[in-house]
Amino acid sequence: MKKNLVYLGALIIILASCNKAETPSSENFDTLTSEVLSDFPAFIAIPQYGDLYTKASELETSVEQLIATPSDDKLSTARQAWRDMRSVWEKSEGYLFGPVEDNDYDPQMDTWPVDYVQMDSLLASSNPLEVSDIQALSTLSLRGFHPVEYVLWGKEGNRSAASLTDRQKKYIHSLSTDLKNICKSLSDSWNPAAGNFAQNLINAGKPGSVYATKLEAYLAITEAIIGICEEVGEGKMEEPFAALDSAIVESPFSGNSVTDFKNNIIGLQNVYFGKWTIDGRGLNEVVASRNMNLDNGMQQKIATAVSSFDAIKLPYEQAIFDQRTQIMNTQNALADLKDALENELKPFLIQNIRD
């Protein structure tokens, strides 16, 4: 009995000392957790939404050049501008919380599917197609990325510049301006000089922030990355995969779907590391400061999920028939990642962030 007590005592001392050696002082930890929250707007949301606005302006310019003097070269420039803007947007879907969800910017830009019947009757009509007319349309399935995609690529992906009608040209011009305007509002909503949603993260836990505690802000970020992981693996990929239906693939005209999916998960990765173009402090530092093993595991699972997309070589609408194993591998990697986010990262945050 006495011997046992001695062992027990030794064990407690060992455990206690292990604990101390790895743990930064709680003061440093609190500073770190605050810095990560203020880096989120500074290094991710504000610069990234700013880039989204720049890319939207570039799309608008390329569309203007296309419709001024149509040529297949200008058409491919416009298509590339669409892809470039799409890439920033899909990466920003790694954190769908705050103004983007509160003010419905997501459906305004990215409603799917395209309403062909309405679009045909709109284009066949004499209804004016100025930006204000576009904004007055009753459904969002006539606005945003996908109608632009449809006009730039055509239903079979083989549109030629010469075949664009005057009304199609006017329509995508106004759509691209509309997209640019929405991106401006979205970008402003985070900016300290305008909507300043940033202050909610910077001041999390203080009066005036929508987050009553810092933990709430961390959980908002975590639920957002869990959400996108689920959306890609169990929604966007699963639905056409399970139904064997290429009609329900997200970006079918441009064949851009696999890139879209991968960019969503790169967006998640960016959130974890706290970076857009410049590396700020991210969740990884918070985790590593108290549990190196968990951080390693998270990093590895994210990297596995991101790289798994590269095995899907075919456009997604074909891959659901011919590369099912590769799709399932990616879905498994996403399921593993989601499981780790929910059952390891989230409990870690709840346990460690006490303010």
């Binding site: 919380f97 103004p99 969800e101 509160d102 003010n103 419905d104 459906p107 305004q108 409603t111 799917w112 599917p113 395209v114 309403d115 062909y116 019947v117 309405q118 009757s121 709109l122 009509s125 209804n127 349309l137 009753s138 459904t139 969002l140 399935s141 006539l142 929508v210 709430e216 959980l219 908002a220 975590t222 639920e223 957002a224 869990i226 959400g227 169990e234 929604g235 699963e238 639905e239 009609a247 329900i248």
Partner: protein, 459 residues
């Protein structure tokens, strides 16, 4: 011998204990329950903007797939028929997807006719039909569709204006109350001289499987139509016609408890709000009207999709309470009972047994509703009858999750038409059977009032 004696003594001591356990399963003293578990086993620990969107635990793998299928469908945008995907929108409608009104599976925004609008209007003429249902307005039906696909005309447009009045608490704190006024304009077809109009804001859709599982006998036990106990609160069940089962049933869902089942609620939303037909309601909302379509594509959604969306809302978990041990939250909870808010907003109910969904079965839940109709006074009256609900009666709203509306919606809106922007405003609009409680609320000290609000925000 000694051993036997011990055994007998042990038996004697333990037997009453055993019997006590057998006697009242699941009923312990209040402090032995975790107060955070608003939905019992169907509770989820998440207080973010996604807190209304979680699947309950414990579903079988196959059921989980059905939930996910319904989740995906809940977000689908419908487009004009004929289309390869999500065909069947309109021709007249209120919005294009479930999620565009039930933002984050939560409550909506009280505007009408815009792409993010979540307010719809029920219409009717005087009287009721053979089943006790409201009488449809010729050319319009029972709901106004204020949006139309390109080339068609909305049935009418709605203008919403608010008149603000200032209310002062005895301690001097002021609250602005806004009374809405709704005006129809640009009708596509002549409106009758007299009609009834009732605004309905999209409510949250989580926890509905638990509400569905509350035994009828429990709901009826709260009913006190003649107010025999003299507390000023009567409480009346709504009995409504179920067009699918062709029976009169107890109404549970909807702001006036006018929907008997989740199936009717969901199918009604597809048909009336989006113009999408299903096996439950195979006719377009605009059938027989000049703008109705002539396509032979009904039902527009497969039965499996319809059923998966019903299953989805049935299996959405309830968010756990926060800050339950804070002193002011506990104080607010006591006040909630003291001023008899709990007279209608029943804190604790038990669900019945459901062998298919154990997580929803025999759960101790805290929805804060009795699911009965109550006279809420002139301020909130829509003056429109809906089965047994008269023009002043509304079904007691659930309060679970009410503290998270800001998270799920950005700007929170309360009450049936979203007129209240704060919980104080929402309480101050209570009248009729809730008048006594409202007056008691007004008379609370500043600290007590703040505690009550803190308690509500912990839900």
């Amino acid at each position: 011998m000694r051993v036997q004696k011990t055994l007998i003594v042990a038996l004697l001591v333990s037997t009453p204990g055993l019997f006590m356990m057998c006697n009242k399963p699941g009923e312990f003293a209040e402090e032995n329950y975790d107060p955070r578990l608003s939905g019992g086993a169907a509770t989820v620990f998440d207080a973010t903007s996604k807190s209304f969107s979680h699947m309950i635990e414990g579903l079988k793998e196959y059921d989980g797939h059905i939930h996910e299928l319904g989740d995906g469908q809940f977000e689908q945008t419908f487009v004009t028929a004929p289309a390869p995907v999500n065909s069947g929108l309109g021709s007249v409608f209120n919005n294009v997807s479930c999620i565009s009104c039930h933002h984050n599976d939560g409550k909506g925004t009280p505007t009408a006719g815009a792409v993010n609008s979540s307010l719809l209007f029920r219409l009717s003429l005087d009287g009721h039909d053979d089943h006790g249902a409201p009488v449809a307005v010729p050319g319009y039906g029972l709901q106004l569709q204020d949006v139309a696909v390109f080339g068609k005309q909305p049935e009418a447009r709605i203008n919403i204006s608010y008149t603000e009045t200032e209310f002062s608490f005895p301690d001097g704190e002021k609250v602005n109350l806004r009374q809405p006024e709704y005006t129809l304009y640009n009708p596509y077809y002549p409106m009758p001289a007299a009609y009834y109009l009732s605004p309905r804001l999209a409510p949250p859709v989580f926890g509905l499987g638990l509400i569905e599982a509350i035994p009828e006998s429990t709901i009826l036990s709260y009913s006190d139509e003649k107010d025999a106990d003299g507390d000023g609160i009567s409480g009346k069940p709504n009995y409504v016609w179920n067009p699918y089962t062709q029976k009169t049933e107890l109404g549970r869902f909807g702001l006036k408890a006018n929907a008997p089942s989740l199936q009717i609620q969901v199918a009604g939303a597809y048909q009336q709000d989006m113009g999408v037909t299903s096996y439950v309601f195979p006719n377009e909302s605009s059938a027989g009207q000049s703008q109705g379509d002539v396509l032979k594509d009904d039902p527009e959604i497969p039965d499996s999709i319809m059923n998966s969306v019903v299953f989805y809302v049935r299996t959405l978990a309830v968010p756990a309470r926060r800050n339950v041990t804070d002193a002011d939250v506990s104080m607010g909870e006591k006040i909630f009972t003291q001023i008899n808010c709990s007279g209608c907003h029943q804190p604790t109910l038990y669900t019945g047994v459901n062998v298919n969904l154990p997580t929803l079965s025999h759960q101790r839940i805290h929805p804060y509703t009795d699911l009965l109709l109550h006279d809420m006074g002139d301020g909130l009256a829509d003056n429109r009858q809906d089965f047994l609900a008269d023009g002043k009666e509304w079904r007691t709203s659930t309060l679970w999750g009410i503290g998270l509306f800001q998270k799920t919606n950005g700007t929170p809106f309360y009450l049936h038409d979203g007129r209240a922007r704060t919980l104080e405003e929402a309480i101050l609009w209570h009248g009729g059977e809730a008048e006594r409680s409202k007056q008691a609320f007004v008379q609370l000290s500043t600290t007590e009032r703040k505690s009550l609000i803190r308690f509500l925000k912990s839900l």
